[in-house]
């Protein structure tokens, strides 16, 4: 197999030193084939182009906030974005997001607080469930049970987020209110539960992969030394797969930050600065974008602030995804090296 692939590499000219066979010298590849091949090479750049273009387009709409005096004036000064102010009608300095009105207030702190609160709550709910499920499926379940469980959990991943949002809004919110007697029917807690439904399958899949890629020799070695199954899992398998679990968490966090429809429908969307009470309403960055962008006219301050929020969201998720991908790559290399 290894040899065959090397020969293919050489014959097809992919290797750095193409084979000097008589075949390769006497035959000329038809021009149409070369054109098609080069077209494929060019098209392959589409993904790179797309990611660059996405960033460029949304950042371009936000940039005038920093360089254009007129845009800044409309905003009330750049510091209005982050610092509390004593707005007219309010006795003390406060963080207020109120982009429509006589005195538009573009303080994004309530949105950041809402995003952090909902996202962290969702992670607190989702990661333990996902990790424990991954432990069960990878360590305890037999082959047949596993082959049933994996697709089932992946099926949950295929539920459109608008359906999860609907479920949170119509079913979960009532259930949570009946159980805990919350003041507001829609709140950060309901949104976090709904959000965790979207994250669990993602975190589960990556974590399960990582747990299963731990070399069998390590497990067998520990078992042979007399360790109990739970000792093997907790002290051998989990530590060995730790980078994979970290990657799963990071990628789950990225997904949670960017998820829109669930929080839009279930979080209540009141822009308040309140980090520690899960039963209060919350307005996230994504929900703000989804509900407000449709009503602003291109080019005004509100429009630009929304694109700025989009740019920040893009950058955060970009970094998280990159980190997750790098961790997984390294883990793969290490485990492969250990196994040989």
């Amino acid at each position: 197999m290894g040899e065959a692939s090397e020969v293919v590499e050489r014959i097809s000219g992919r290797a750095s030193t193409p084979a000097r066979t008589p075949l390769g010298q006497g035959f000329r590849t038809p021009r149409s084939h070369l054109v098609a091949e080069n077209a494929i090479r060019v098209v392959a750049f589409a993904a790179i182009l797309a990611i660059v273009l996405i960033f460029a387009i949304i950042a371009r709409e936000a940039l005038p906030l920093f360089f254009d005096a007129e845009a800044q004036e409309e905003l009330g000064g750049l510091d209005a974005l982050l610092f509390a102010r004593a707005w007219p009608g309010y006795p003390e300095a406060r963080h207020i997001w109120q982009p429509v009105g006589d005195v538009p207030k573009f303080d994004v702190v309530p949105l950041l607080a809402g995003t952090v609160k909902v996202t962290l709550l969702a992670m607190l709910i989702a990661t333990p469930v996902a990790f424990l499920s991954a432990i069960y499926v990878s360590q305890y379940a037999g082959k047949r049970v596993r082959e049933l469980l994996k697709p089932a959990i992946e099926l949950l991943a295929s539920v459109p987020s608008v359906v999860l949002g609907f479920f949170s809004l119509v079913v979960l919110a009532s259930a949570v209110q009946a159980l805990f007697g919350t003041t507001y029917r829609l709140n950060a807690f309901v949104a976090a539960i709904g959000l965790s439904l979207a994250i669990v399958p993602l975190v589960f899949t990556i974590a399960e992969d990582a747990l299963r890629s731990v070399p069998r020799e390590l497990v067998n070695g520990a078992l042979a030394l007399g360790a109990r199954k739970h000792q093997v899992i907790l002290r051998v398998v989990l530590p060995a797969a730790m980078p994979g679990l970290a990657a799963a968490t990071v990628l789950g966090l990225g997904r949670a930050l960017g998820e829109t429809m669930i929080v839009l429908m279930a979080s209540g969307n009141a822009a308040v600065v309140e980090l520690f009470d899960p039963t209060s309403s919350a307005r996230t960055i994504t929900a703000t974008l989804a509900s407000e962008l449709g009503e602003v006219s291109p080019g005004d301050a509100h429009w630009r602030v929304l694109f700025l929020l989009g740019t920040v969201l893009f950058l955060f998720t970009f970094v998280l995804n990159r980190a997750g991908a790098v961790i997984i790559e390294r883990l793969g290399k290490r485990l492969r090296a250990e196994a040989t």
Partner: protein, 317 residues
């Protein structure tokens, strides 16, 4: 193989034996509980939706247009719009995705930095939040491309022709959003085609391009199709990217032009559940719409799973 038979004697896989220490039972029980919880939630979602939604389903519901307050009639325009959207998306996006997959699997040198860069871009593209795609679609396709086309093609016109939300712009946005799914599955499918087949083709004098088109791709078709189906399922369910790029709350006509707006199942669910003037009256329609959307995505995903398993069984044999 070389692995010694050191598996512990098979006990019941469901619960450890009664004599097992507390730690063993605790971890086993907790992890089993977590799995059950996830399954329970899945069953609860599907069960609750179907039990309220299926009784409302009828031929009229699937084939008629809604009344303008969305509280009566059917959802045919939303089904039509969803199909039209995903069709356009597939036509625009899948060829690009497959070409990129072919490049990564067949043409890129093994340790190519460019290929590494493409892969990194694909990974990151997969992680871009869907609402950011919405911003991008609005900023790029509607505002830049659309308005640009208007300025170039219809200089005298005051009302926008292309420079407004339309099904084409939504489809293009979703095509980019679903690109990673197609690319990753295409590359994986091509990598599972044994190199001996390529060798045989090359040995018979086929060019590289012929080998790719006539040997590698046909053998990878089931895998690629899986990716396409997954992309369609993802595209059909996404709402955030289409809010600003073309979806309409209510349309009195069916879109027939790439410049028309469209109704959409997912967006219909969102609009009905958050903007309806009469929640109680809307409830049965809402559940029925969710049922249709859920059955559509589950159907597509089950098809993808079956296809994938078949492809694996074939390549393993």
């Amino acid at each position: 193989m070389s692995e010694p038979q050191t598996e512990p004697p098979k006990r019941s896989t469901l619960m450890p034996s009664a004599g097992a220490p507390v730690g063993d039972r605790l971890l086993h029980g907790a992890s089993l509980f977590a799995v059950m919880l996830v399954l329970l939630v899945l069953v609860a979602i599907v069960g609750l939706v179907l039990s309220e939604g299926v009784p409302v389903l009828s031929v009229e519901f699937l084939t008629e247009a809604p009344t303008s307050d969305l509280l009566g009639g059917g959802i045919f325009p939303a089904i039509y719009g969803t199909v039209l959207l995903t069709l356009l998306m597939t036509v625009c996006g899948v060829p690009v995705g497959i070409a990129t997959g072919v490049y990564l699997a067949e043409y890129a040198p093994k340790r190519s930095r460019i290929a590494g860069l493409v892969r990194a871009a694909v990974q990151n593209l997969a992680g871009v939040p869907s609402i950011v795609f919405g911003l991008f679609g609005l900023g790029f396709f509607v505002m830049m491309v659309g308005r640009g086309m208007d300025a170039a093609l219809y200089p005298g016109e005051t009302s926008p022709v292309w420079g407004q939300p339309a099904v084409l712009w939504s489809a293009l946005t979703l095509a980019i959003l679903t690109l990673p799914v197609v690319i990753v599955t295409t590359e994986e499918a091509l990598r599972q085609v044994p190199d001996e087949l390529r060798l045989a083709a090359l040995g018979l004098g086929a060019t590289r391009f012929q080998t790719t088109m006539k040997v590698a791709l046909p053998n990878a078709t089931p895998g690629i199709l899986t990716g396409v189906i997954l992309a369609i399922s993802r595209g059909a369910g996404e709402v955030a990217p289409i809010i600003f790029t073309g979806a309409a709350n209510f349309l009195p006509y069916l879109p027939t032009d790439a410049r028309d707006m469209f109704m959409h199942l997912g967006y219909h669910v969102f609009a009905l559940s958050t903007q309806s003037p009469n929640v109680d009256q809307a409830r049965p329609f809402l559940f029925a719409t969710v049922t249709v959307l859920l059955l559509l995505t589950f159907g597509l995903n089950l098809a993808a799973i079956v296809l994938r398993n078949r492809a694996r069984a074939r390549s393993g044999a």
